[in-house]
Amino acid sequence: MQARETLATMKEPQPAHVVQASVNGLFRTTHTLKGMAGMLGFPNFSRAAHRLEDIFDLMRKGRLRSTDSLVETLEAGMMALESGLANLRMGRQEPDDYLHALRRPLGELEALARPAEGGTQDLTSLLDLPAEMLKTLSEYERTRVTVLLISGMPVHGVTVCLDYATFDERLRVYSETLGRLGELISTLPMDTPADRDGLAFLLVAACPALEAKDLSALEGELVGIALLADPTRVPAALRNEVPPEPATEEPPPEAPSAAAPPNPPQAQDVEILRLPAQRVEALEVRLMEVGQLRDAASLLLRQAPGNGDGRPAALLGQIESGLLEVQKALLQMRMVKVESLFSRIEPMVRSLSRDMGKPVKLTFLGGDLELERNLLGRFSEPFLHLVRNALDHGLEPPSERAAQGKSESGSLRISAAQRGRNLRFDIRDDGRGFDLERIEARGIQLGLLKAGQVHSPERLHRLTLEPGFSTQERITQISGRGVGMDVVRTEVEALGGEIHLSSEARRGSLIRLSVPLSRAVVSCLKVRCARQTFGIPLVNVGRVQAVKKALHGGDQVDVLGISLPLESLQACLGLPEPSGQRAFVVLGQPGAAARSVQVALGVDEILGRGEVLLRSLPELAHAAGIMGGSAQEDGILWVLDPEAILGLAMDSLMRRVARV
């Protein structure tokens, strides 16, 4: 369904790079579907997914133009797979051809994409690179080189030698710079020059012109630029039959000339403003001051005798909602999609996989979620380190995998999901898992564990996060230098996050990182308890009910014919128990079935609903059941963490039962 939604967006005019990213995503989706269906024993489904995957592959290589009719055919194809999947779930037999109704348009598309002479155009031989380096280019990269050269774009090679400690960050800067100037095609590892320390890379990029000053090299960084292929060397016959760029309706740029170099492909008519982050921060601080003025005015208004007809209060209400809108807009400016983190991982994994000779199937999930840009900045390095570790230590070489009956390609799945106020990332591999015996022996050797004692797997996994702990006897360029995991933990914990490791021998490992979102706008039901104001996220509120008879923790209440246990919010938060409450909120998990856990949460007073700007609490101030707070006219409103409150309520109810 998500693939169909992506296809639907492709009918709208979009910049070429956005279309390219969508097509790449759809290619990966159909590829995954194909693999899963094959694995589960549905060969016809797998064949149909493969056929759609091929079409997406042709699109991403620029051999098929994204047109409305093509997108509609693919939408119909995805719908056919979707309905086929629903039938399989119901236990129905597989049809011979899921795409039977589309055989004609699909056949036409496949025919359209074939090269005129029956062979595939490949202009990578024009690149001034050693043959062994050319061989390492993937089919996709070769196609991009070909397409870009034919469209008149010169291809440059940028060699950089970067420090071990910062190469990730610096490589990202170079990649982003080249992406802005044109298109980054490939990042290839190179031999480090004999007189240098660090890691060397060749970045192959197509852009109209490139000079050292464009690259913002740091002092001491060795940077070289060379023209790898000049589009004027493309045979004239090929230049005449220009394959179109995907979804680009404009004619291809002319071959470059010294007088007027061609511009890189332009996005739609959207003006992009780049602002220093400090300006947005300054605006937020100013906004906070305005908010404080509003609070002061509100206080004065409440204290002023006979403040009349309520118009001042109404005006303050309007200021409040206006401020919240601006705060929301500012917050949105700070957010960035998780996809941007994933897009940094993909080339790194590809490069390391090639370097280490370990083929990897890399899958991502949850790229549409958003996190704050500054969080992403601080979080990226530890994250990349963990991915490198998974490749270096987790995944076995192909021969070792084959000997264990595993596929030669390792699997690395990286997913993001929102859990309460946290963004949770999972890095899952199907490698050898942590060697717990070795970790235990090393822990004893380092004096971190006592010999003769039983150490739980959790304790042993966690030991790898201790400073200086490494079982690696050899130091690789990738990891295993005894630093890193503790730095990862420190960085993640400094962000108020958590890291959790688990693994199973020869089955794989799971590294779970949770980082709190520092700010978010949350729609809340506002309630009062123990003279404090609380917000309950509306997505978790099933019902609000007032009752005549005073209720107490441990009572059962009837909600639409279902009996639910009631617990007071005070009991959940460890506050003094109320003498009786006449209102409750049915709290549950969002979107969960009716039979899932629900609790009636007793509150002193229901105040109403509203949107609040949630700020997370620093780690030292974490309080059980509290997700964060929001500054309000009458003090801080504490926003409850519904999942935690459900747990606290159940614990409290169990204690009541145990006391009886």
Binding site: E284, V285, M288, S518, A530, Q532, F534, L573, G574, L575, R615, S616, L617, P618, L620, A621, H622, A623, A624, G625, I626, G628, G629, A631, G635, I636, W638
Partner: protein, 129 residues
């Protein structure tokens, strides 16, 4: 109790503001204040082992670089103690979990707060250790 705070550990000193108490107050922290648009945890001196500072009406909050607010009753001034003035705490002194030592100056003993130890202690208090 007169304390010494290294200026290197300080972000700034701001006027005291009302502290919002946290529901189910975590040990060691009395609540939070809004500082530069973020919540700043405020230390509860009375929860520290061996500390005789009683909850009062602070006039200022010393904001540590590691984002913790220390409520202060008054500020005495700045000084640069000579190396010989420093002394270790007596072994077993419960305050060594949050102090780095004492400084003897003109017949007066000043206690130097160690932010690293203090924050580590607050984490341990949270975990109930």
């Amino acid at each position: 109790m007169d304390l010494l705070l290294s200026t290197q550990d300080l972000r700034e000193v701001v006027a005291a503001m009302p502290v919002a108490p946290l529901p189910g107050r975590p040990r060691g922290i009395q609540g939070v204040v809004l500082y530069q648009g973020e919540f700043l945890p405020i230390l509860a001196w009375e929860d520290l082992p061996g500390c005789t500072i009683a909850p009062g009406r602070p006039v200022a909050v010393a904001v540590l670089r590691r984002r913790l607010g220390l409520p202060l009753d008054r500020m005495i001034g700045t000084l640069s103690p000579p190396p010989g003035a420093w002394q270790e705490l007596e072994p077993g002194d419960p305050r060594e979990r949050w102090l780095s030592g004492t400084c003897r100056l003109g017949g007066q003993t000043l206690l130097q707060v160690d932010p690293d130890r203090l924050i580590a202690l607050l984490h341990r208090l949270r975990e109930g250790r």
